[in-house]
Structures are given as C-alpha cells and as structure tokens.
Subunit: 78 residues, 2 copies
C-alpha cells in the first residue's frame, strides 16, 4: 500500500529553503513571485492489510522519525 | 495565485534520501516498510492574471532553477 506523507513547516517557522528559492527566482527575472514555501513529501510503501493499519503505522513513523513536532506539521494521504 | 510544483526523481535515478529513510525506519522497528521515495514540493505565490500565465511562468521557473532535467520530472498543480 502506498502512503504519502507531506511534511510542512508550521506557520511562523522560518523556511530558509523557500526564502532562497524566492530570492533566486527574483534574480532570474521572475518579479511576479511573491512567496515560496518548501514542503517535503515521502511516498512510503507499507505492507499492511488495511488502510487503517497503514495509516497508524505511518503516523508512528512521523512521530518517531519523519517530522519534528516543534517545527513540522504533517498530513498523511492514503 | 498559488501554484504547487512537485519535483520527483526520474525512474532509475538513485534516491539516497529515500533509501536512508527506509533504512532508518527498518532500524526503528518498521519491518513492513518496503520502499520510500522522496519528493520535493514548492508552493509558489505568483501574481498572474490567468491560470494559464501562472502555469507558463512556473514552467519556466522549473526549467531555469527548480528542476534538473537530467534527473528530475516535475508536475505543476494549479
């Protein structure tokens, strides 16, 4: 079963990658860009019998490894 | 207008980040995980009058900065 996890920075947390992409785009001649946010996505293949079990397992992966609760929010998409 | 760009590695291109997340998950006690692919997403705010113009502009950003055509595929979502 393929599960998708999207890891966002929380609102108010600095996003240096997004900020640098924004700067670079402006320098490259895209003056109409007003903001860039970076998001990390993992597509995880899990051998689980039910969607519910897959979600619970990926939820635990987020807590244990993928997301830092101080700065990240995550969304699990099945 | 908010445009979302998803930047994937092409099939066959090594994904060391995904591979390392997979290894770490196995070490942390998730034996059911069989694969992890990493994807980079940018949410770009563009001041464009039409969706078509926003898409064309982001397409150019991908070609000029965001994606490396040798190893990346990208998908623009409006």
């Amino acid at each position: 079963m393929r599960v998708r996890v999207e890891i966002h920075l929380k609102k108010g947390v600095a996003d240096p990658e997004g900020d640098n992409v924004l700067k670079a785009l402006k320098l490259l001649g895209f003056p109409d860009v007003t903001g860039v946010r970076s998001i990390k996505v993992f597509e995880i293949e899990v051998a689980a019998r039910t969607a519910q079990k897959a979600r619970a397992s990926v939820e635990e992966m987020c807590r244990k490894l993928l997301a830092n609760p101080v700065i990240h929010d995550y969304r699990i998409l099945l």
